[in-house]
């Protein structure tokens, strides 16, 4: 195979990285058009990236295993939330409490990740939509437990977590004990002009650790098995790999990481929207991964990193641009929200369409 030289290489590179380049140019346009100051942008974007990177990274393994984009990560997020709820209920404080929440979420993630994997094995070829619907279904069960049983059938020590009537978790919980602990661990701030940019170094370190861990795992026998299953299930079967078990393993890993990632996310925010935080996790993390250039069949660590940075920059740029460019009388703030949602859905829809189109072309 002759490797393209010169201009052809640039062209090939551009085509492969079309999506990130496209989004980078949209960001740039937005920044220039609305005259957004870069330091201001950084104060917004840096914490967002730190918060979300772990979750985006946890999506990589299922893609490698050929199961597409793990919309079922919502379930992992819910397990993480349960861990946080338990710790806050017991009145835990500090970094230790945060780590305890993560530890508590693991058995739940293992169990539900395993069940999710089994279910997805029954829906081969339709994993993504099944995962999506499963997320909604699990949301229903989650609400049944935390809205109906919390306080009544399940006793809660910390009354502040509950609604006024004494039954059901409050809509929004202030993470008194565990909020911001990881962020504040190592938190230098760089002053750029008048904006102090806080770097949540500890959070970044944890995410970087996950990058290396993922890379290491995908090089082990177990990880290589997943890769083989992802490339061709039949060949993997013939090669003696337990295909179904490998697929379940991929989902379990993703779910556990999702739980930890959601804890990191929520702790960074400081409060948590009991009934809505997990709903947005799926599409936003997936859109971020896709913006980085990943597809339904291929996702690397760089896709996750680049994608998270670009995606959150884009969100920030669009929100700020909409507020400054569109006068408030036309609902400027609202429009920013709608455009943001439209972008998230459009990114996912376009990537799915591109993937299916390419698959069709190959056959």
């Amino acid at each position: 195979m002759v490797r393209p030289r010169g201009i052809a290489r640039v062209g090939g590179g551009a085509r492969q990285n079309l999506v990130p380049l496209l989004f980078a140019s949209i960001c740039l346009t937005g920044i220039l058009w609305a005259n957004i100051s870069i330091p201001f942008l950084l104060t917004d974007v840096v914490p967002r990236v730190a918060r979300n990177l772990f979750l985006v990274l946890s999506l990589i393994v299922p893609v490698v295993a050929g199961m597409g984009l793990n919309f079922g990560i919502v379930i992992g997020a819910m397990c993480g939330q349960v861990g946080l709820i338990l710790v806050e209920n017991a009145g835990g404080q500090g970094l230790g409490a945060l780590l305890l929440a993560m530890a508590l979420s693991l058995p739940l993630s293992l169990l539900f990740g395993w069940m999710t994997g089994l279910l997805l094995n029954r829906a081969k070829g339709r994993e993504m939509i099944t995962g999506l619907i499963l997320g909604f279904f699990a949301n229903g069960i989650y609400q049944a437990i935390f809205l109906l049983m919390a306080g009544s059938i399940l006793p809660f020590r910390n009354q502040e977590l509950l609604l006024d009537g004494g039954v059901g978790l409050a809509n929004s919980i202030n993470l008194v004990g565990t909020g911001q602990r990881l962020d504040h661990l190592i938190r230098p701030s760089i002053r750029v002009s008048i904006f102090p940019i806080y770097l949540p170094v500890a959070t970044f370190l944890v995410s970087i650790l996950l990058c290396f861990a993922t890379r290491w795992y995908l090089r082990t026998k177990s990880g290589q098995d997943l890769r083989t299953v992802g490339q061709d299930m039949h060949v993997a079967e013939i090669a003696g790999i337990a295909v179904d078990r490998a697929r379940v393993r991929a989902i379990v890993i993703s779910t556990c990481l999702g739980g930890i990632g959601q804890i990191i996310f929520l702790s960074s925010w400081g409060t948590f929207n009991t009934y809505q935080s997990h709903e947005q996790v799926g599409p936003y993390a997936i859109a971020a991964l896709l913006v980085g250039g990943a597809t339904v069949v291929r996702a690397t660590i760089w896709h996750a990193i680049v994608g998270t940075i670009l995606f959150h920059t884009l969100i920030s740029v669009v929100a700020t641009a909409a507020q400054t460019l569109v006068p408030a009388s036309m609902g400027g703030a609202q429009i920013g929200e709608y455009i943001r949602e439209f972008l998230v859905y459009a990114v996912i829809a376009v990537t799915l369409a591109l993937h299916a189109w390419k698959a069709k072309r190959r056959t």
């Binding site: 829906a123 499963l134 229903g140 109906l148 609604l163 009537g165 004494g166 036309m330 799915l352 299916a356």
Partner: protein, 356 residues
């Protein structure tokens, strides 16, 4: 070999698992309703029928797509948005009464058909992942339409967004326009409720029209293209054209469905309201016995009634039972949570079934 319980087993298989479970559940709810509350049962039945009629055409809209082999049309919000567009245009031009309704239906259906054709071309390019792509096309359509509603020039002052003075309101009131026109047409009082004869008649008419179409030559070709594309192609059927027809029909019916829904409800809900409406619609069809590859009109009728009846019964029932208790605020969410669990559970069941 004689197996035990042969007769009942055959009966259960005929009724179907989904229909059986929901029907039993509904019956249980009705029993509690009649014996444990003082609420009017006749009003409840009338309400159940009204809700079924409201949603019926939306559920019907899914059938052509399933028959054409495109799977469950999760992108039905696209059709809904087209219908809303038709309604908004008519309202903005002060269209009142039956004329307004017919105008909304016509514009909605026309725009829906066109949008459906474009949507069908997209789906053609993503064979195998139609449901997933459709879902996000639906979401994108709702989000895109939201931008449209916010930026569009509004002529009718009643429709304008209260704060700011431009863009459409979240909810448009149909009082004085065409609220309940079909419902009241030939309505029969029933105990303490009224049966919306016009609404139900229109639903049955549409079901009849679709049933007739499916028995026509084109309809049969559509079904053939869906169930066995290779054989259909070999028989000279334009499979791709049939799929386009199925999706366009589905989208147009979705537009009609949302207009009928709005007139019965009395409000036109814009912006994010239609976002999640695909799920109860799909769930209703599946409850009726449909699968990802097959759907009949009987599935529409039975499924819509069962699903809507369960939802309609549970709300007043739960409210009545938890009245006065401190936890009423939380427990009042039971019907909503039940809806989430039932509708998504049934979709999961359909997606994970092994089909021959």
């Amino acid at each position: 070999m004689i197996r035990a319980f042969e007769q009942p087993r055959a009966l259960v298989r005929r009724i179907g698992l989904t229909r059986g479970i929901l029907a039993a559940f509904l019956l249980a709810l009705w029993l509690v309703y009649v014996f444990a509350t003082d609420l009017s049962f006749s009003a409840l039945i009338a309400d159940c029928l009204t809700r079924a009629g409201m949603n019926g055409i939306l559920v019907l809209a899914l059938v052509p797509a399933v028959r054409a082999g495109v799977g469950l049309n999760f992108g039905i919000p696209l059709g809904m948005v087209c219908g809303l567009f038709g309604t908004v245009v008519v309202l903005d031009l002060y269209g009142r009464g039956a004329g307004g309704l017919i105008g909304a239906l016509a514009i909605g259906a026309a725009v829906g058909a066109l949008a459906g054709i474009a949507y069908a071309r997209l789906l053609e390019a993503v064979r195998g992942q139609e449901m997933m792509v459709g879902l996000y096309v639906g979401f994108g359509a709702v989000a895109g339409a939201s931008i449209l509603w916010a930026l569009a020039p509004v002529h009718n002052p009643e429709m304008v967004f209260a704060i700011g003075g431009s863009g459409f309101r979240q909810t448009l009131l149909l009082d004085g326009y065409f609220k309940g026109i079909l419902d009241r047409l030939g309505a029969i009082p029933f105990g303490s409720g009224t049966i919306p004869t016009g609404l139900l008649a229109f639903w049955l008419l549409c079901c009849g029209a679709v049933a007739l179409f499916l028995k026509s030559r084109t309809g049969l070709a559509l079904s053939a293209a869906g169930s066995n594309p290779r054989f259909a192609e070999a028989s000279g059927i334009n499979v791709r054209g049939m799929r386009t027809l199925g999706v366009a029909l589905s989208t147009a019916l979705g537009a009609i469905g949302i207009v009928i829904f709005s007139q019965s409800y009395g409000f036109v809900q814009l912006y994010k309201a239609p976002l999640l409406m695909a799920f109860p619609t799909v769930a209703a069809l599946l409850i009726g016995g449909a699968t990802v590859r097959t759907a009949k009109i009987s599935h529409v009728l039975i499924g819509t009634f069962l699903f809507q009846a369960v939802l309609t019964t549970s709300l007043p029932l739960v409210n009545d039972l938890v009245q006065g208790q401190g936890s009423a605020e939380a427990l009042g969410n039971i019907p909503e949570i039940a809806r989430l669990i039932i509708s998504n559970g049934i979709i999961l069941y359909a997606l994970t079934r092994k089909e021959s």
